[in-house]
């Protein structure tokens, strides 16, 4: 039996390289990684949930622009919610909040949910696949953010409410300060993708 039939959905970031470039810049700390990952995951899941019923009463020509507008509206709402929860975190994510509308994960969700059938060729529900990918993305984004902050600055930023973020000092030294720059993000993700491949190969599974 293949792992696809067992319900195994590979990590969309490390295997499918989905949304990896904005992630490199947006997820610089634990709080930013978690907030960006949560936004992307929520947008993708809600797109998967809302688009199939909306397709019933929308003419074919309007489906693509309406789906994109829905994605933009979801990103906007998430941005407003994050602004209310923590204005400091929203400010740090800056233009990456509205860009959630066109993130790689949202575009994959748009493509999957705009298909006529509710299940893919392997029999898995498209919504379940989107949900699994969204969950993977959230976990990966949070872990990447935490790793970069921990190794780069020696701290961990907790997503707290209010105008400022609380930062916990974990280590006195910051061994790899480059990791909090986009260049360091690309390099770290390069190693993570290679490590993920080794892990998949060791467990006998295949990527996307």
């Amino acid at each position: 039996m293949s792992f696809q039939k067992e319900g195994f959905v590979p990590n969309p970031v490390l295997a499918g390289l989905i949304g990896i470039c904005p992630l490199v810049v947006a997820a610089k700390s634990l709080a930013e990684g978690a907030a960006y990952g949560l936004g992307a995951a929520l947008c993708a899941f809600l797109l998967g949930l809302l688009i199939p019923p909306a397709r019933v009463f929308l003419p074919d020509r309007l489906q693509a622009p309406a789906s994109l507008a829905l994605s933009a509206a979801l990103a906007l709402i998430y941005g407003f919610c994050l602004e209310m929860y923590s204005s400091a975190l929203a400010a740090r994510l800056w233009i990456y909040l509205p860009l959630l509308a066109v993130s790689g994960l949202s575009l994959v969700a748009l493509r999957l949910s705009s298909s006529a059938s509710r299940s893919g060729p392997d029999g898995q529900s498209r919504l379940a696949v989107i949900a699994m990918q969204a969950a993977w993305f959230l976990v990966t984004s949070t872990c990447v953010g935490a790793a970069r902050e921990l190794l780069g600055l020696g701290t961990l930023t907790i997503p707290t409410t209010g105008p400022s973020l609380s930062r916990i000092a974990v280590a006195d030294i910051a061994p790899l300060r480059i990791l909090v720059t986009p260049a360091g993000g690309f390099i770290l993700l390069g190693f993570l993708v290679a490590l993920y491949r080794v892990t998949l190969r060791a467990s006998g599974r295949k990527g996307l």
Binding site: P98, A183, F186, G190, F191, A194, L195
Partner: protein
């Protein structure tokens, strides 16, 4: 900052791919982004998208205090318009292989994505005047093309190299992108300002 400073900053110090993470690196796309048609399409689409977003943002939404709604207007107006222009270019071209056809085809592909929207958003929110925003967006498109062109050249070399199996393909490209981002970081905004003297 002078126009030359804006152009140099948008190409190097604020590179769309290596500094802001817009778009994707060559390994992830089936179609090569390093061709002349791609460079032209990127510049054209970015100019149209940035012009529309700047006008909507600065003349309509910002005076009403609704600047954060620009994403909705971009999705509803700019993307359909770019796609319409791309289709017209494809249908108006004499033959399938012509530059106009390739331009339309490539523009249609890149209309929806973080690259075009991200560059348009940066141009609109950076406090540039209208001509400065157009120059910055065209230069950002060219900066993206330059990084794609260089990474494509690196990829060709890497394909001939004897890399360990887990590093072949995307990991090697991500490491190369990281090293290239480091090189681009060297040309920062202050250096550009000192070079062009404004």
């Amino acid at each position: 900052m002078s126009y030359l400073g804006i152009v140099l900053t948008s190409i190097f110090a604020s590179n769309a791919l290596l500094t802001y993470g817009f778009g994707s690196i060559p390994e992830f796309e089936r179609r090569s982004s390093a061709s002349f048609a791609s460079a032209l399409a990127l510049a054209c689409v970015n100019i149209v998208a940035s012009a529309l977003l700047w006008l909507i943002h600065s003349l309509v939404l910002a005076p009403l205090g609704l600047a954060s709604l620009d994403i909705l207007f971009f999705a509803l107006i700019a993307v359909p318009l770019i796609k319409f222009i791309a289709r017209v270019a494809q249908q108006g071209s004499i033959k399938q292989g012509s530059l106009l056809f390739k331009l339309g085809e490539r523009s249609d592909d890149i209309a929806v994505g973080s690259l075009v929207y991200g560059i348009a958003l940066l141009s609109a929110r950076s406090g540039y005047s209208f001509p400065e925003a157009l120059a910055a967006s065209a230069a950002a498109g060219l900066g993206y093309w330059l990084s794609q062109f260089l990474l494509e050249a690196v990829r060709e070399r890497l394909e001939l190299s004897d890399l360990p199996a887990p590093f072949r393909g995307a990991p090697a490209m991500l490491l190369s992108a990281g090293l290239m981002a480091l090189a681009f970081m060297g040309v920062d905004a202050v250096l550009v300002k000192n070079l062009v003297g404004a």
